[in-house]
Structure formats: structure tokens, C-alpha cells
Amino acid sequence: MLRAFTHLIIGWLLVALVGGMADVLGLSLMLPATSAVVLAHAAFSRERELVWGLAVAVALGYIEDLHQGAPVGVLSLSFAISFLVLHWAAGRIAVRGWSMRALVSLMAVALIDTITVTLLFVLADPLSIRSEALWPMLLGLRWHALATVLVAPPVWSLLQRTFTVFRLDAQTPSELHLDVR
């Protein structure tokens, strides 16, 4: 429970940090989805904690809904579904090293964006969204994904470091399996 709470607090702080930095640096397009990295970390660091991880996903999605001004529920649902897929993948992929962390984060952001776009297309009428306007957004998503890949290793390291400091079992089971000592 403490791990889930830590994931949630760090995720929320990172969302606020990205918003603040975007304001100071004048960025609008290439903003990273730090929540996607937190979600990937939650899925890959404790493969057995499905329920707590899913609760973190729903809560993080809800915070993103409010921060991004999205209709409440859209990102919560896409985060939840993405978490289930990542959790399933966590049992099959060992994450070790910066490149794998970046790759897994890319997978997370791609999943979240794909599911969000799908939800927006499906719910365009009830949410009063002009579906034609969603197409140009798809082009911008590559920058979103690239920015996320670039921030994934430091964010992942920050999470690992925090869990080590607070003795919350920082080393992932995947890493433990591969640690030949």
C-alpha cells in the first residue's frame, strides 16, 4: 500500500513539475508523459501486486484527467487498461538497463495514447468532440512519445532511488532473476 501511495505522490508531483516546466520554458508540444513512466514502473517493479497497481493507474489517470482538462474518466480508463496490458507483459519481459526502461516507457505511452485516441473516437458524439479534429493530433503524438522516452531513464531512476531510500524494495523481481552474483 505504501508503494502504491509513493507511486501516486511521485506521479502527481511529476505532473505538476512538467506543467511548471512547460510554463517556464514555453513548451507546448513535446511534453513528456511522466505518468506513463510511473505506470510502467508500477507494472514492472512488483508483478504480483495487480490490484494496488491498478488502483494507482486509475488514480494517476484521474489526476491526468483533471490536469489535462480531459473529460473525467477518459484517461483513468486508458491508464487502467494500459496497466493491465503492462502487467501481463511484466511477466514476460525482463527490464534491465536504461534502454529497456526507455523501451518499456515507450510501450506504456504508446498504449495509453492509442487507447485514449480509440476512446475519444468511440465517445466523440457523447463527449461533443469533433472526430475530424482528432486526426491532426495523431501526428503530434510522436513528439509526446519521444519526450517520454527521453525522460524515462531519469524518472525511473528517481523512483528506484526513492524506493531504496524509503526501504520499499527498490530492486525489481525481473532484475533479481537476472542478477547473477
Partner: protein, 294 residues
């Protein structure tokens, strides 16, 4: 295959957790502008947090810039370079002051120019989403002044309208958002249409082919939707596409640079109706009793 209690319980919890966002989505489709007490509480914590981070980063950036500058100056003549640095700093302050002055002057001019009842608001958050074009503003004038649907203007033109509001803070849906729809007209020939958000920096509007429209034409609010006051610039036509049928599609670039606005105006109420008797000179009532001495 035996099913354990543990896996049944986990399955039930997963279904419940997945049900929460679906319920929220259902509620938000029914009442898109409604914010619950919990939503407001979360935003009340989140919005100042973001503003504080913004402020801290600004301070940190300023400190870092000054430190780097100072380190370089130590390599050269310290006196001369120190004087130079002070002068540069003063220049920077002056340019900043000048810019602030110009912005405030334009804001004040706009206040005088526009007859509607408006209130200034400060931008506190930026558009963060790849899907939605929303900025956060803060009205430092007590609670619950702004309401969903209210128009938001800047000196350069229309910004958008308030989507959600809580305490001092409001989400402004920009005119480029996919959900945005406002009534507009081409200023030159009054060809009317509904402007819809299209991408990060463009909108589209379909107007009748009966009107001749050229690139460069100014598009302004028509006031038909009773949300936006009439005659405020929205953008400029940059491309025209002939559609099948009797419509043509105009691509509009907004007149407002959304990443550069600091102060916006929220329209609280429409302008009062002009007094039809204002021009008429009414005869003074005849005096009775005392008359002036001539």
C-alpha cells in the same frame, strides 16, 4: 481446475477498479462541465502546486543564469565586466518592464474599448495534453465568479470559453480544442459559420459559397451564439477548400498566440442594450413659482 478465493477476490477488485473510470466517464458524458466535490478538492491541491513549481523553476532559472554569467565574468576584467553585467541587467529589467507596460496598456485599452462587463484573470497553467487544448486561469477576486460557458478574451482576440471552474481557478477550453464551437463571421462580407477547433494552431469554419472569401480575411465573432460578444477578432483565413455542395471550408489561424498570453479577460455579462432615447433631447419641465431675475 480449482479456483482459489484469492484469485476470485482479485478478479472482483479488478472489475470494481475498472468500473470506476467507466462510471466517471458516463457521468462526464452526461454533465461535461460539472465538477464534483472530490474533483474540486483535487484541483484545489493541484493548481497551487503547479503554480508553485512554475514559480520555483522561474527563480531557479534566474539564479542559474546569473551564476553562469558571473562565472564567465571572473575570467575577464572584473570591474569592467561587473559594470557591464549591471548595465545588462538593468537593460533586461527595462525591456521586461517595457513589455509588461505594453501588455498592461493593451489590457487597459481593451477594457475601455469593450462594453461588456469583464474581469481580468491571470494564466497559471499551460496546455499539457496532446489531445485537449486547455489552459488554466486564476481570477483573484473571491470564489465562484467564473462559470462554465463564459467567454474569455485577450487584447488580440478570442481565447476560448470556460470549461470547468472551481474556486479561483478555471479551465479555459481554447478555440483550437476539438470540442470548441463558436459562432463567427467573415468581417468583410459577414459570411456566417461555426468555428471548430482543428489542431494545435488552426481552426476551421464552413461558410456558404455565395460569399467570396480570400486568404487574409479577418474572421470575428458574430454574437449569434450569445456566448461571445459580437465583433471580437478570432483569426485570419489562411486557406480555402471548396467542398462538395454549397459550402467552402476556411482554415483559420487564431489571432491570439496562446503560449504568450499572461492576462486574459473573462466576460461576465453582455453589454447593456443601447438606450434608444439617448440622442433625444427632452424638454425641461416648466418651472413654477420663482423665476430668475433678469
Amino acid at each position: 481446475m480449482a479456483v482459489s478465493f484469492h484469485s476470485v477476490r482479485n478478479g472482483a477488485l479488478v472489475v470494481i477498479l475498472l468500473g470506476i473510470p467507466i462510471m466517471m466517464l458516463r457521468a462526464s458524458a452526461k454533465e461535461p462541465h460539472e465538477m464534483g466535490a472530490f474533483d474540486r478538492a483535487i484541483r484545489r491541491i493541484g493548481a497551487p502546486l503547479e503554480a508553485a513549481v512554475s514559480y520555483s523553476f522561474g527563480m531557479l532559472g534566474g539564479f542559474f543564469e546569473r551564476w553562469v554569467l558571473q562565472a564567465r565574468l571572473q575570467d575577464s576584467n572584473e570591474d569592467l565586466a561587473g559594470e557591464n553585467r549591471e548595465l545588462k541587467q538593468q537593460m533586461r529589467d527595462l525591456v521586461q518592464l517595457e513589455e509588461e507596460n505594453a501588455q498592461l496598456r493593451r489590457a487597459l485599452q481593451m477594457r475601455d474599448r469593450v462594453p461588456e462587463d469583464m474581469i481580468p484573470a491571470e494564466r497559471v497553467g499551460v496546455d499539457q495534453s496532446p489531445f485537449f487544448r486547455v489552459i488554466n486561469i486564476r481570477i483573484d477576486r473571491g470564489n465562484s465568479i467564473a462559470e462554465p460557458g463564459m467567454a474569455v478574451l485577450a487584447p488580440d482576440g478570442v481565447v476560448g470559453r470556460i470549461d470547468k471552474s472551481f474556486d479561483d481557478y478555471s479551465d479555459v477550453m481554447l478555440i483550437t480544442d476539438a470540442r470548441s464551437k463558436i459562432a463567427v463571421e467573415v468581417a468583410r462580407n459577414h459570411a456566417q459559420g461555426i468555428l471548430e477547433g482543428n489542431s494545435e494552431d488552426s481552426c476551421i469554419v464552413d461558410v456558404s459559397k455565395d460569399y467570396e472569401v480570400q486568404p487574409g480575411d479577418i474572421v470575428q465573432t458574430s454574437g449569434v451564439d450569445e456566448l461571445f460578444p459580437k465583433g471580437h477578432p478570432v483569426g485570419q483565413v489562411v486557406a480555402i477548400e471548396q467542398l462538395v455542395g454549397d459550402q467552402q471550408r476556411l482554415r483559420i489561424v487564431p489571432s491570439v498566440r496562446f503560449d504568450r498570453i499572461d492576462v486574459v479577460w473573462v466576460v461576465l455579462a453582455a453589454a447593456p442594450e443601447p438606450d434608444p432615447r439617448a440622442e433625444q433631447v427632452e424638454p425641461l419641465p416648466q418651472s413654477r413659482g420663482l423665476v430668475p431675475i433678469r
